[in-house]
């Protein structure tokens, strides 16, 4: 077995079937039951426990998707790649994605039957969710190639060793108890109660399980965290009556529910609950009220005095001495009385107010930058600047639609622009590509991004360029990029790939292009990086301000802000 390195910090994990990406061909109810069985494989072999919750914030969120689905690992239709899962971590860490194009089987199949066992694949993927990598042991659950499933499946030894190395075994838990970082979750109180009549004067109730999850020692005066309200008189619903007989408790063990029984997340008491007042007959969920006289039916306001009366609405509040709400208030500092408010606000001088969306060249980021006919075009909102051999053209920026009139009239911005090797100009706007031969729209355009082989769900490109290093075209969006085959007119098959290839520029770039010096420049925010094509990394980790170099702005103005690092 192989342990990846990441593991969960606690053993009581939650999981859910995504509410938005459910299997299109399967019954979600049965699917959840199969997923629960797959998790049980790991639960039986380790100290881990899994609770289904009805929330997309669960540790392990299971979803079904087709093709490109917002990560760098698109599915490939039926066959070949079945699913993938992410190693433990926050965000999508632990999540498992299944290819919705597969023919999933919920029951064990006959040998001649086509299809893939969801249980087998889910059990494998959950191994990744828990931190196991692929194993080269044939027959192991973590073997990467699909092997089907035997009717009486038990976790193979290789996988058992792997999971127990990470999280310990059930036997050890019985011997040594729960691990100290056991995370408290909202659990129902014990179904059996001990007698409530006690002669002892201690304030600690004997039937409460005390979690030692706080980092405080076991001190006699320390009252540990209890995850549910503790006063049976005030919260009778949490304290059911004593079972009729010990052999047959009146509260049977919970069975697998139709719907997750996990309470709504908003009802879970947190360590830092919302600020609110608790009146005399109500107990704070976790504050210990033993310091105060116990509220009884005969308790009156006069006998029960809370510690902070001024915060309670039933007590009148008075302004502090010399506070701004006091009519006798006198400020401690001299008040200037010479400055009078203007009768009318000053009017802006005429002809200098730019239209609201006209960008300030020296204080903006760029939507797109492209070298077209050996001239630099810089796009922002519905305007663009142009820089030729003699420097910046006067009277710019002008509207983009004045140059390319067949773009939409209501154009607000462009996403990416590049000049193709055949000298046609490609302008990406949202989900469409406009191709211009000089200033004329090429017949058949605009085309949709999906016609270029890009995913249907892609809303826009961030940038596009012809990379001077190999003459190939690249598209960028979010955390991924594609190589585009200009001859075929589609992106190549084994893309998208992660942006990590372009080391140092990160995700969500604004633009990229190749300048006259043959170098590649990436833009993001108000800065840019020069890229070393041979070393495949940025030449300077710290960004340089775009405005100073590309717009000819004075450095003291352009460099005022700390550049992005």
């Amino acid at each position: 077995f192989a342990v990846q390195g990441e593991k969960w910090k606690y053993t009581n994990l939650t999981w859910s079937l995504s509410s938005s990406r459910r299997p299109s061909q399967l019954d979600p109810h049965v699917t959840r039951s199969v997923l629960a069985r797959a998790l049980d494989v790991w639960q039986q072999a380790s100290r881990l426990t899994f609770t289904e919750v009805n929330s997309d914030d669960a540790d392990i969120v299971v979803s079904f998707a087709k093709r490109y689905h917002d990560d760098a690992y698109p599915f490939d239709g039926r066959g070949s790649i079945l699913a993938h899962a992410f190693f433990p971590g926050s965000g999508r860490g632990g999540d498992a994605h299944f290819d919705d194009d597969e023919l999933w089987l919920l029951q064990p199949k006959n040998d001649d039957e086509e299809g893939t066992s969801l249980f087998a694949v889910a059990a494998h993927e959950f191994g990744h969710s828990l931190g196991l990598s692929h194993s080269s042991v044939k027959g192991a659950l973590m073997f990467p190639w699909y092997q089907g499933i035997q009717p009486n499946f038990v976790l193979p030894e290789d996988d058992r060793n792997g999971i127990q190395q990470m999280y310990g075994s059930k036997e050890n838990e019985r011997k040594w108890g729960k691990i100290p970082y056991y995370r408290p979750i909202e659990t129902p109180p014990p179904t059996t109660t001990t007698t409530t009549t006690t002669t002892t004067t201690t304030t600690r109730r004997p039937y409460i399980h005390h979690h030692h999850n706080t980092h405080q020692g076991h001190h006699p005066n320390h009252r540990p965290y209890t995850p549910y309200p503790r006063n049976p008189n005030l919260y009778p619903k949490y304290y059911p009556e004593k079972p009729s007989s010990p052999e047959r408790p009146s509260y049977p063990r919970p069975t697998y529910p139709d719907r997750p029984s996990y309470p709504d997340r908003t009802n879970i008491p947190t360590y830092y609950p919302e600020r609110r007042h608790y009146n005399a007959t109500e107990e704070h969920p976790r504050r210990n009220h033993n310091h105060y006289p116990r509220p009884t039916e005969t308790t009156t306001q006069a006998t029960y005095r809370p510690r902070y009366p001024q915060n309670r609405p039933e007590y009148p509040t008075y302004p502090r001495a010399n506070s701004p709400t006091d009519p006798r208030y006198k400020p401690h500092y001299p008040v200037k009385t010479t400055a009078r408010p203007r009768a009318t606000p000053p009017r802006a001088p005429p002809h200098t107010t730019p239209p609201p969306d006209k960008p300030d060249a020296c204080n903006t980021n760029f939507d797109a930058v492209a070298l077209i006919r050996n001239e630099l075009f810089i796009f922002k909102n519905r305007y663009h600047w142009r820089r030729g051999a003699a420097g910046h053209y006067p009277d710019y920026p002008i509207e983009i639609t004045r140059m390319w009139t067949e773009l939409p009239r209501n154009l607000t911005h462009v996403d990416a622009v590049y000049e193709r090797p055949d000298r046609k100009i490609a302008i990406f706007v949202g989900k469409e590509l406009y191709l211009f031969d000089s200033q004329n729209l090429v017949p058949g355009y605009p085309k949709r991004l999906r016609d270029l082989g890009l995913p249907e769900s892609l809303e826009k490109l961030d940038a596009a360029m012809v990379w001077g290093h190999n003459g190939k075209t690249y598209f960028y969006s979010g955390s991924v990029y594609w190589k585009f085959d200009e001859d075929v007119g589609r992106v190549e098959l084994d893309y998208p790939r992660d942006m990590a290839m372009w080391k140092g520029v990160g995700y969500n770039i604004d633009s990229v292009f190749q300048w006259k010096d043959g170098k590649t420049y990436f833009f993001k925010g108000r800065g840019y990086w020069k890229f070393n094509d041979l070393r495949m990394r940025v030449e300077h980790e710290r960004q340089l301000p775009s405005a100073a170099f590309w717009m000819g702005c004075p450095t003291e103005r352009a460099g005022r802000r700390e550049p992005f690092r």
Partner: protein, 98 residues
Amino acid sequence: ARSRSARSAYHSKSVRSYLENFGYLKKGQPEMANLLLGDVAQSYEDDFRIAIKTLQEFGGIPVTGEIDEATRELIKKKRCGRPDREEGDIEGGRRKKR
């Protein structure tokens, strides 16, 4: 003959893509591979053979270093989409080799 060599090149490309996707070859090299000549290109060929062997060993089929029938069958099989060797493993392997 040309058709056969084109088919072989296609197979080689798809196998390379498979090796990259599942962590046997470092990703991103195609961006530069077409520019490389001489010793560097030879080094890429060596890496490719090593990757094939590693795949064969991992998949439990005879280790030949060639794209043989068993390797093609293995590549066609249904599988998990996670790489068999994580990125750190490849980096580590390279450092060790040097």
